[in-house]
Structures are given as C-alpha cells and as structure tokens.
Subunit: 308 residues, 2 copies
C-alpha cells in the first residue's frame, strides 16, 4: 500500500507525519519523488496536473485535499476510480467563520465606515436588526449547512437554495431551478457555496443580480468560475448591488490588471476562506485509506455524473 | 404620571408611540417642551445637560436610554432617585454582532488582506484555528456575557475578567485586580466592555498593553474614557500591538485632527457598536414605568456607589 501525495500548496511533510501517526509504516510518496508508479494505490491530491493521475496503473482511489473536486473531474484522462472529497471539521469551521465575517461586514455596513474613516467623517449608520436581514445561501452541502446554522444562531433570516429540498432548523428551503426566482427576490446578502458543475458554472451573472433586491450584496466563496466578473462589476457600478466579497476568481492569483482589486465596493481575499489543518483532516483521510485496504466504499464519495 | 423624554440622538416620536402602545394615555413630554416641571415623575434620558434633571422637583426615577450610566452619575446635581440602566435584547444583540465582527476581522487578519488588496498583492495568510485563539473580555455584565457566549459558540478560547467571579459555560473566569496579570498574559484579542467608573477610567493604558502578548489586538466598545489613546498609538507604532478596533473615543465625534483616523492599524467606527430599537426596548421601559407607579423597585437599578 503506497500513497501518492501531490499538492502545490499543502504541507507535504506535515501530512506525512500526521498520516503515519495514525497508520505507522504507511508508505507516503511525495510527488514528484514517486518511485515506481505501479506501486501507488491511492492518491491524495490538490490540483494535480491534468493527465498526471493516468500514470498510475494500479490506482484504486483518489482522495481530494479540497471540498470541491471540480478540478479533478474536469480531467478527461482521470482514471475511473472512486473519488472522495475532503470533509474536515477545520475546513468547515474556517469557512463558517469567513462567511459569518463577510455577512456581518455587509450587514453592519463596514464598507461605509471604512470609506468614512478615510475621509475623517463621523457618520452614523444604524442598519436593520439581524431579524430583518435576509441571507440567502446557494448550496446547502457540508459547508453551506454549517454556515446557515451559524447565521441562524446570530438571528438572521436564512434562506437556502439547493438542488433538492433540505430540512435545516430555521432555514427556508427553496429547492430547484423553479424556486430560484423566489429565493433571489428575498435575499439581501447572497452567499455562493455551490459545487462547480456544468449546471452552476457562470451562474452568478447579470440575470441573477437583476433579481436581487436593490442594494443587495454578493459573497462568493465557492469557485471563481461561478461568477461572471464583468456582470458583477456592471451591477455594482450601476448602483444596483451594494457590495461584494470575493475569495475566489476565474484566474488565481487574481491578475494585477483586474479591476476588482481597487473597486471601492469589492473586498478581495486570496482564496483563504477555508483551509484544512492536517492535524484534524488526517483522521478522515486515514479512515478512507483503511476503507480502500479493506475493499469498502469511500466516505464522502463524489458522484461523477452529478459532479460533486 | 408624566414622562420626560430627553435625548439628542434617539427618535422621540417613535419612542412616544411605542410607549403609548403599551400604556395608552401615558403623558410623554419631549424635551424641551416639558410644560410644568413639577408634573414630571419619570425621566427617560440619554446625555441630559448636567444639572437639567435637578429642575424636576417631583422626579421619582431616571431611566437610561443607554447601558452605561456613567454620564448620569457624573452629574453632581443629579437628584437622589433610583436610576435604571437600559437592558434590551436589541442592544445586546447588536453589541454581540459588533464584537463578533471585530474579533473575526482580527482573527482572520482582514487588516492584512485590506492592505494587500490596495497593493494588488495576492498574499496568503492562514491564521491559527479559533480553538488556538484566546479572546479576553473585560467586563462580564449583560453585554460582556452575551459576547462571550457568541465567541464560545464560534470555538474561540474565551477568558473573562470581572470584579467578581462569573460562571459562564466555556469562559475562564479571572476575578479581581489580582487576576488581571494572568488574564492579560493569555489574551490575544482584548475586548473592553467594562462599565466606566472611577476604578476603570483610563484602564487601557501602557501598563496593560505591555502585559498583552506580542501582536495582540485591542477592541474598545465600552467608553472612550477607558482608553489612553496616546498609549495605544505608542504600543501600535512600536509593533507590540497588532491592531485596534475603536468604536468610542474621549471626544465624540472624534476630532478631525486625531491621528487615529488614518492609522493603518486602527479601525474607527462612530459609536455604533450597539443600539437599541424602541420596538423592543420599550417593553423594559414600560415595565419600569409601571413599577414606579406601583412603588416597586426598578429592574436593572444602578448601584450609585459602585457606579453601574
């Protein structure tokens, strides 16, 4: 049993140590020092080069280091083996924190206060109570559900749009395309936590923005490809949208020339909304490695047809 | 029974309507249209001019529109009648929101991201998990306790410093001056929610900042007089403190010439952290008006010797 570890961003040595603490003797090969490709059984990856995973003839499973597996399933040469997405308490907790922070910033009008501070202006603004502020979450999976619960706990009105109906305490469920219109009309702060699929690519476009109430804000923490950046800029500049918080972009790092960087209504962060910590995430990865050994189905397996 | 309403900032007509909805026929006199001062039984006030309340010979109680009553008890001519501070779900909820927002901004290093955005820099920063971040709250009254509970719910390590020991789930209690040293040494993000008294005026000074760990942040949402602004600036400029969020100031509005306005490590907001909404706050006020009529003690009565 040999594990391939391949990620440009994650700490390989720390991952090896955490996995070996749970599975002494586990053979971890850190890409590109792989040895004989035929010895690799399992790949633990983030953004592998397209075609790379086809090089391992005996691969039995792919474990993603990220919650979103859109990059993997987009690889036309991906071997036909089970894929598991990352589910990890630290990933969920950091995303919940970021969403709560971004929603509270818009709710409490911190963009206005930051502008006023630069102008040395003492300008009151008393926003509506949380109970009168409607936060709409697109995508109620692992991350969306956790964010929804935290926003309910803060007293917001929370709406959720998802493929299928979801029962979450205090969250109004708007399932399917037919409910999207009603969902958007009632959303003051929109949070995108959708998986990226053929159905959701480019979903945050002019048509969606036009359905939001005047002054609504948009938070994208899913994938850059969900957003049509030009449509967002137009909706902000026309005054229809009040602001945006963007953590993900079509091209990352965001190019120097992007007009998003210095737009007064846009807060840019560099894809940091959620991150997993090997010390907690290694539990779930080790559990899945044992399942592969035992010939059992993976936890959190991706449905390749659905795309997530 | 006539009620004097006196506030430069609160919506008088809305308050009258909300009170009369609960107590039909209540005689509400909006300052300065007071009529015969001898007819006033109760005063509902925010920042009355010093000496003003001494003009009402038959005053039986003073109800504060704010949680902090330091301005009232500082009036040497204040009549010797019971004072009640404002306790209101909306006041508590808005303060909790603001504290959560300010703590999350520091925790997730939004100051860094905002600087990076202005420089068009894509710079990762992955802060420690909330479980490894220690938030110390000075003052565990109505507002401090609620903020502490919300921070515990977000997974932070929460410490509380208060005059007397407090039992709050998940909050380490450091009571009294003797525990202040230990409390400060373990606090990464300090939140001041103390009442302003002779004991706490100027408490946020160089000595306190020196005891905080390197890189700690300070949030003041209590009163401007708690903070020695020059000491804060020095601790920020020396690099010892990482940042500050200030909602209250010695002089309000903050003077145009204050160096706080454009300090890169300081976020200024114009005394908006908490605000009550007459639609909810009128319940508690009406209850206290009825208590005065019935000769019963006030709810949330201020201890004049203690100062809050």
């Amino acid at each position: 049993m040999a594990l391939l570890f391949l990620s440009p961003d994650d700490p390989a040595d720390l991952w090896r140590a955490e996995l070996q603490a749970r599975m002494p003797g586990l053979d971890v090969r850190i890409w590109p020092q792989v040895g004989d490709p035929a010895e690799i059984d399992i790949a633990l990856v983030w953004r592998p080069p397209p075609g790379e995973l086809a090089r391992y003839p005996n691969l039995r499973a792919i474990l993603s280091l990220a919650a979103g597996t859109d990059g993997l399933v987009a690889d036309p040469d991906l071997p036909d083996v089970p894929i598991a997405r990352m589910v990890d308490p630290s990933l969920t907790r950091t995303m919940t924190e970021y969403v709560l922070l971004a929603v509270l910033r818009h709710h409490r009008e911190f963009d206005c206060f930051e502008r006023a501070q630069r102008a040395r202006e003492w300008a009151y603004a008393f926003p509506p109570q949380a109970a009168d502020r409607r936060v709409g979450i697109m995508g109620l999976g692992e991350l969306g559900s956790a964010a929804a619960r935290a926003l309910v706990a803060q007293g917001f009105q929370v709406l959720g749009w998802s493929r299928t109906p979801k029962m979450l305490d205090g969250v109004l469920s708007y399932p399917g395309r037919s409910e999207l219109h009603a969902f958007l009309h009632r959303t003051d702060i929109l949070v995108c936590l959708l998986p990226l699929t053929a159905d959701t690519v480019g979903i945050l476009d002019a048509a969606i923005f036009a359905e939001l109430p005047h002054g609504a804000c948009v938070i994208n923490v899913a994938r850059g490809q969900h957003l049509v950046e030009g449509d967002l800029l137009q909706a902000l500049d026309s005054g229809h949208l009040g602001g945006a918080t963007l953590d993900v972009f079509r091209e990352e790092p965001l190019p120097q020339g992007s007009p998003l960087w210095d737009h007064p209504k846009v807060r840019v962060t560099p894809h940091v909304a959620s991150y997993s910590v090997p010390s907690t995430a290694a539990d779930g990865v080790a559990a899945n490695i044992r399942r592969v050994s035992a010939g059992e189905p993976l936890l959190h397996q991706v449905d390749r047809v659905r795309g997530y």
